[in-house]
């Protein structure tokens, strides 16, 4: 096997339960984003753009769609003779087997995979974030500082710091303490869940952790604190560009609409840092005479006869005449019928919003407590004239004229 300097391990097994119906049938990294992407396109594209061509994807929850999407890895140029992309589900061995018990255990169970490439460094990634990052810069810093582990961090506002894993650092960027969601944060450097480890160190702590029956086998809870306690050198790597966790309905909606914000630099077809995806083969989009399209993102295969403002249409969406879509995401294959109104909502794949139906409301029409993004699950049918209020999560068909 050809030796690789760095192997990336992408943790893609999480359920993403806070996304509700959107992850009822698919793993979170497979959730559609930005018209023609899925969340996992970001770490995969970042890898290949950073010169990392060996990626293990650790799957566990509902892997069918994700496996299908990754295929041979060709869409990301990760179909390689040596290296490339590998799906790594939990497996049975001679002495039985186990589900991945935690993030660290998932890597532990795949030590054999990593060792095939005899790497110096292992990059740990997750499939939960939208960002463009050059991992090679982070690895270079890791090498230069001779750290055992380097953790990517982002400065967050102090009043939000208690939602994150916070790194308390010395002036030279070395970490002296890690606090998970601290009540009174001492620093505002939030962990982005991206780690570079020297492989010999990581392997040692993974084996140690596995022997500790009390451990929950998690990087944040166990491996990082244990390395700090043992006096290893842990270093932060500061990242200052766009990064967004898409773990909740609100943040997923926001991260999508950020693509329409001219003040946010999130050009996904930048020739120097393109985000690749496995897009379908659809004809260009058609915008009709009666359509009004402003401030929106539309993907191949769409047919637009209605009105769009501040919205994203994914592949193959139809918006019929007189329909109005505002501040919403309409995922692949969905149909918005004549006269329907979709506001501040996420319409999942192949859902149908019937004629004159209404989904979601404008924030100014309800009290702030009542307001929220509404979600219609995949393949759901909203009957003609039905009304779905704010902050709803629709998991079953809604009958004609019904109000929810």
């Amino acid at each position: 096997m050809v030796r690789k300097k760095c192997v990336a391990m992408l943790l893609a097994g999480g359920q993403g339960s806070r996304l509700g119906v959107l992850t009822a049938k698919i793993a979170k990294p497979a959730v559609p984003y930005g018209g023609k992407y899925r969340i996992i396109d970001f770490p995969l594209s970042n890898c290949i753009n950073s010169g990392i061509d060996t990626v293990g994807i650790l799957t566990q929850y509902k892997p069918l769609e994700l496996n299908d999407y990754i295929g041979s890895g060709k869409a990301w140029d990760l179909d390689r003779l040596s290296g490339g992309v590998h799906i790594l589900p939990p497996y049975q061995g001679q002495k039985g087997g186990d589900w991945y018990k935690g993030t660290a255990n998932a890597i532990y169970q795949n030590i054999e995979f990593i060792e095939r490439y005899d790497p110096e460094y292992v990059l740990i990634l997750s499939g939960d974030h939208i960002y463009k990052m050059d991992y090679s810069k982070m690895i270079n810093q890791h090498v230069k500082t001779e750290a055992a582990c380097t953790i990517a961090v982002l400065e967050v506002p102090f009043d939000e710091a208690s939602r994150f894993g916070i790194m308390n650092t010395n002036p030279d960027g070395s970490i002296y303490e890690f606090e998970e969601k601290p009540k009174n944060p001492k620093s505002n450097l939030a962990s982005m869940g991206i780690y570079v480890f020297s492989w010999d160190k990581l392997k040692k702590y993974l084996m140690q952790d596995e022997n500790n029956a009390d451990s929950s086998n998690d990087f944040g809870k166990n491996i990082i604190p244990e390395m700090l306690n043992s006096g290893e050198k842990l270093q932060v790597y500061r990242f200052a560009d766009y990064w967004k966790d898409v773990g909740t309905i609100d943040s997923l909606w926001e991260a999508n609409l950020d693509l329409l914000n001219p003040r946010i630099d999130l050009n996904l077809s930048d020739p120097n840092w393109r985000i690749y995806s496995r897009a379908g083969q659809f004809a260009p989009q058609y915008i009709s005479d009666e359509a009004v399209v402003e401030n929106s993102l539309i993907t191949d295969g769409c047919e637009v006869y209605g009105n769009l403002d501040y919205s994203i249409l994914f592949e193959n969406v139809t918006v019929e005449p007189g329909a109005q879509v505002d501040y919403s995401l309409v995922m692949p294959g969905a149909v918005i019928k004549k006269g329907a109104k979709v506001r501040y909502s996420i319409i999942a794949e192949n859902a149908v919003v019937g004629e004159n139906a209404e989904v979601g409301v404008l924030p100014e029409t309800v009290s702030p407590d009542e307001f929220g993004i509404s979600v219609v699950g995949d393949n759901i049918n909203i009957g003609a004239g039905a009304k779905v209020g704010p902050k709803e999560m629709i998991t079953e068909d809604v009958k004609e004229g019904a109000e929810i």
């Binding site: 018209g35 077809s269 995806s277 989009q285 005479d289 401030n295 539309i298 993907t299």
Partner: protein, 372 residues
């Protein structure tokens, strides 16, 4: 049918001279069409959708852009261990010169024909845009035990029908006569440039025609043998366009603004595949005003666009007005520029406040990489 039972051959330089300067630096088959396609995508997709996975592309000149487009054939699922796509550049058979006519072209591709081990060969003209049901045409050919099947269309008037074969058929769909009129009227049947042959017979006919100085398949093989071979016509009912001149090219693009044409041509059961460029979806700005237009991914639009075809990666700046035009990939249309009845080839830059107008009957063509 086993996958290798039928092989396909596409003629990439078909009617190169018909569209003037557009083929100065590319073959007809690599001519951009319909926002994100090149003409050859329709031929390749038609073959692949019929389960034909061994395809030869006969090229003559200017085929660099074609090679760039085809790559390994993966976008059409033609990167195969068995079969796949084969580019067949000019072969030095009679001194170092290019072929004249399809007979010589096929004679030069005899190695491909001999080796492909298929029972049937489908020949496709690389100047045809259609979603043709080749699987049914091959079934028809086999059921009729035909020597040759010509896929034809009717209802299409062609003004410049140079080398286009019109035909009559009997009640059993067998060809009775063929002719080569200078114009084709809408009630005539004419060849769609898709022909199905038994391979052994094709090899024999090409060898004979070549030795007798024949050049053209329609004239020197079909017209010559219409009475003694079993030649049948298979009707294509959907949309079709043949690139006989610039006007035909413009009209064919503009017909994509018609929903029925889109529904037929982009039939989800027989997808038209093309090279993917990983463009982000198209961004419509606050000043965008887009009506009745066919727009590919990767555009950034902040101006007015109507009755137009925009290819991938086109930028339309604020105040720009584009009407009845075809704007190919990566063009930049500057602020307050006005374009009416214009065809901009790839990567044209139109500076701010520039006005360019063609006429409805004759769109003004602007060559690749021009800055105006």
């Amino acid at each position: 049918m086993r996958p290798s039972a039928v092989s396909g051959i596409i003629f990439a330089n078909s009617r190169d001279e018909a569209v003037g300067r557009m083929t100065n630096f590319r073959s007809m088959a690599s001519l951009p069409f319909g926002g994100r396609y090149r003409i050859i995508d329709f031929c390749l997709s038609n073959l692949v959708n019929a389960g034909i996975t061994n395809v030869g592309i006969i090229t003559k000149a200017n085929y660099r852009s074609l090679m760039d487009h085809i790559e390994s054939g993966a976008f059409w699922d033609l990167d195969r261990k068995r079969g796949g796509v084969h580019l067949l550049p000019p072969f030095n058979i009679s001194g170092a010169r290019r072929y004249h006519g399809y007979v010589e072209a096929l004679y030069g591709a005899m190695d491909f024909l001999n080796r492909c081990n298929s029972e049937y060969i489908v020949l496709c003209d690389g100047c045809v845009v259609a979603n043709a049901d080749i699987a049914s045409a091959v079934d028809f050919h086999i059921n009729k035990n035909a020597d040759i099947t010509v896929v034809y269309r009717t209802g299409e008037k062609v003004r410049k029908a140079k080398n286009m074969m019109a035909m009559t058929i009997d009640n059993d769909d067998r060809l009775v006569s063929v002719s080569f009129p200078s114009e084709i009227s809408s009630d005539e049947l004419s060849s769609l440039g898709i022909l199905i042959f038994k391979r052994d017979l094709l090899i024999e006919l090409v060898n004979n025609a070549y030795e007798n100085g024949g050049r053209n398949i329609d004239v020197d093989i079909i017209a010559d043998r219409v009475n003694d071979l079993k030649i049948y016509g298979f009707r294509h009912n959907g949309f079709s366009a043949i690139m006989t001149d610039m006007k035909a090219y413009t009209d064919a693009n503009m017909s994509l603004l018609n929903k029925d044409v889109r529904t037929d041509l982009f039939n989800p059961k027989r997808r038209i595949m093309t090279k993917n460029r990983d463009d982000m979806p198209t961004r419509y700005g606050t000043r965008a005003d887009v009506k009745n237009s066919f727009v590919a991914d990767g555009c950034v639009i902040d101006g007015e666009v109507s009755g137009s075809i925009l290819f991938r990666g086109v930028t339309v700046k604020k105040g720009a007005v584009i009407k009845n035009s075809i704007i190919m990939q990566d063009c930049i249309i500057g602020e307050n520029a006005v374009l009416n009845d214009v065809i901009c080839d790839k990567s044209v830059t139109v500076s701010n406040n520039t006005m360019i107008k063609g006429t409805f009957d004759s769109a003004l063509y602007i060559e690749k990489n021009q800055e105006l």
